[in-house]
Every structure is written in C-alpha cells, then in structure tokens.
Symmetry: C2
Subunit: 270 residues, 2 copies
C-alpha cells in the first residue's frame, strides 16, 4: 500500500476520487464564470484527455453546458438548488419574515445558514431604499466567511469556541477592509460581546461604507439553524437606529422564525 496517504483524514474514511475531481472542476467553472477548455486545464492541473472525459460526463449529466467554446454550470443545478431551499425548514419558516423586515426597514435583509464553516445565503429580499450592489450578487453566489458578516458572527457566537477555532484555523483570516477581524483574540472578544447582547453588528468589516445587524436563529435544543441580518449604508444605519431600533426588529424577526420552526417544523432544522 502506498504510504503517501496525505489525506487529511486519519485512517479510514474512503472517498471516491472522481467525485472530488468533478467537484473541483465544477468549482473551477463556477469561479471562472465561462471558461474555455484550456482555461480549465490550466486551472485544475489534470491531463487534457482526462479533463475532456470529465467535461463530457458532466455535460451529459446536466451539471454543465457547453455553449460554443465556453463551459458553464448547467441549469440542472438551478432545479436542484431550488429543491434544497424548499426542503430547508428555515427557508420556509423565515421567508415571510425576511420580506416583512425588508419592507419595514426598506433595506437588504438576508437569511443565511452555516455550511462547512462558511455562510450561505438561502434567501434575500430588498426594501425600497436598498441600494443595488454587486455585493449582493456575491453574497448569493458564493459562500462567505462567517467572521466577515453580522449574521455569520452571530452564528459563530453560538458555537463552541473550539469549533470556532477549528473553522478559523482551517480557513485563515482574510482581510477585506481595515476593520475586518484578523485574529482569534479579537474574534473571541467580539463573540463574547455578541453572546451577551444577543445580536451582532458588522461595522464596515466586509465592505466599506456598509453596516449590518444580525442575529442567530436557534432551534429548541439551542442548535443554530441560521441567521437573519439587515444591511445598509453607514449613512442610514447609525445612532440609536443602528444601536437599538434595528437590533430590536432583527431579534423580533428571528424570534418569530424560531416559533415558526418549532410549531411547523416537525423535523429537525437544516
């Protein structure tokens, strides 16, 4: 047996290598947007012939489409994604509240969940004052670091600190603005504060000029199901409105979602 089992997993868990490869290719396509065959070969470091076979298979299965020379993710994923959303209790329990909150505040509202140590947006809604930003596209299109956002930090605050350490160790700190949290010490302090006050704020830590207020949505057994947040420009989100009114609204919404989850949700969250 080969001794270069560089697999992170000590010992047993067998994996299907081809799926990992396929996953990497899909990720590359998503990342490169509309790559050509050669783009992909450069990105993934697998022999041309093999990449070809993978693309052929993935296209045949509907995971990708080729238009002309360009590959892109296939619409089968839209269907699957939609299906996931509708099966996710927190989406069903929270959609209405997100819309209401967006209407009340007039700003962007996000409903997110944690997945593999990152934050995934399940649903978003914008009020009439919400500004159009590519930012929101990015939010929806790719997972974010939990410590970058209000909702993310709110979820982290509910986690066991060891788990937080683990997540951060694995991902490292990526600095997005000069206010981004970039060390464990500061993060832990922040999480303590969040835990104490019941909600988290994000003060230009991810995007300059933008603030958010978020709070976790928890299940009966105190497990984190997700989080909800309001995002707006600093000009509009400041003073008492930022420090008390909005947090109040956000926590109220989270609370209602929690109740919805408990009453309707026969099965476990997520």
């Amino acid at each position: 047996m080969n001794d270069m089992h560089a697999d992170d997993s000590a010992g047993s868990p067998r994996r299907i290598k081809s799926i990992q490869t396929a996953s990497a290719i899909l990720e590359a396509i998503q990342y490169l947007e509309t790559p050509t065959f050669t783009d992909l070969c450069n990105e993934v470091d697998i022999s041309k012939g093999t990449v070809h076979t993978y693309l052929e298979t993935l296209e045949n299965e509907g995971f990708i489409t080729k238009s002309g020379k360009e590959y892109r993710l296939g619409v089968r994923l839209v269907t699957m994604g939609e299906s996931v959303r509708n099966q996710t209790d927190i989406y069903r329990a929270g959609q209405d509240e997100v819309e209401k909150l967006a209407e009340k505040t007039g700003e962007w509202v996000h409903l997110t969940v944690e997945c593999q140590g990152q934050e995934v947006t399940l649903y978003e809604s914008s009020g009439d004052r919400a500004i159009a930003m590519d930012y929101h596209l990015r939010m929806r299109e790719s997972p974010q670091y939990l410590y970058h956002t209000a909702a993310g930090k709110a979820m982290l605050a509910c986690f066991d600190r060891d788990r937080v350490r683990e997540i951060v160790d694995q991902q490292g700190f990526v600095q997005r603005t000069e206010k981004t949290i970039t060390d464990l010490e500061t993060l832990f302090d922040e999480l303590d504060r969040i835990q104490a006050q019941g909600y988290a704020v994000n003060d230009e830590e991810e995007v300059r000029g933008m603030r958010s207020v978020g709070t976790a949505i928890t299940g009966t057994d105190a497990t984190v199901c997700g989080a909800i947040s309001v995002t707006a420009p600093t000009s509009r989100l400041s003073g008492d409105y930022f420090e008390s009114e909005i947090p109040e609204l956000v926590m109220e919404a989270a609370n209602i979602i929690e109740v919805n989850l408990e009453t309707a949700g026969v099965q476990k969250p997520r």
Copy 2:
C-alpha cells in the same frame, strides 16, 4: 476488452462512471426528499458499502448533508444554482419583464429554458391574484415535459421537427390530464398552429382547471433561448382575454426580452 459495451453511445465517448453513479444518487435523494441510508440503497441498486462511500464523499464535498439519519441535498447547490441563474443571459434580460407581466396580469408568470429536452424554470413571479399551488413548487423543483406546457410547446414549435421527434421518442408521452397531448401526430399539428399564430396555449393539458399562454424567446439567429408564460385558472383565463389580450401581452414581453438580449447580451444566449 469487454464486449458488453451496452453503452447507448456507439463507439467512443468515454465517461466517468463514478460521476454517473453520483448523479444517480443525487437524483434519488432529490426524488425521495429525505431518504435514509437504506432507502437509498433500495433505490439505486448498488452495494451498501459503495453507497456509503459515495454518500461520505458527496457530503464531504457539500453536495449533500446528513441530518440525523436523513440525507438531503446540500446548500452548496443553492449557491451553484444561483450562480447559474445570474450567468444566464435570459434571466438577466427577462427578470424585470416577468415581474411587470405578473403585476399587469395579476397571475403566475414563468420564465423557462429548455435543457436536455425538458423545461426548467429559471424565474417565476406571481401577481396579486395568483393562486397558491403546489404545482408551482413542482415547476421550480423539477424539469417538466415540454409538450405539457404552453412555454414548452412554444419552444418545441421552434425546433426542427426531427429534434422534436427525437425528444419525444426518448421521453415518451406521459398523460397528465385527459387533454394532454399523447401522440406525435397531434403534437405536430399543434406545433404548426403555434408557429402560425406566434404563441402557444395550454388548455388544462397539464393540470385540470389551469390554462396558460406562452411564447418563445428567440435570439438573433432564430435560436430558442427560452420562453415566457402566464398561467391562471380557466375561470379567469377565457374568452377574448384568453384568446387575444393575454397572448398580446405575453408576446410583447417576449419581444422586449429579445431586445434586451440583443442589446445587452454580448455573449450567446444560454
């Protein structure tokens, strides 16, 4: 070499078997909603051990999640699906028009594309009179047969008849109501009529009590990019409104989307 190359593909195109298997498992999970390990084993006819390894891998890659004993599709798919949508020109070009049409008519409006001979919903919007129906969930969550819907038939009408025959041969006719088209003859007649009048109707062919009006959205070179449709109960969708007003509105919307596609769309549709 083994001579039982039962592969439908004559001769060459090599495929990665593991991806096909993984795809089948994902499909089974989507279909069964929240299957347990054994449910899946029964569904897919692969040895227990192997299924285990696949699930392990798929979970590790974020394609599925295990909550308790239940497997379900993972939120990574939400992100990917969203990414696909936003890269799809017709979605960007058509979203606004769909919303406007929903507002004008007060009913359900769908923006769909063809994928592997089936119809996939890219976006939908409901007006204030639109009835809540599980039907719409199904529309969004899984591909539909093209000959079942107004939008689908509108797209079929633009295809080469050989292609239509091919699609139908492969999928067969599934009867949903007593009005569903169930033979090629009738379908071809219908497609001719659609081609002549510029739009398609669906008169309780998919769901009893529901009618729709749809039309194709085509690119510069007459290629089909997708379709748009309005759906409402027969009670509201009848007479002149059904036969002329709504078709007019639908075709107008399609037209605007086509213009958007041409002006904004630097790259090819889909």
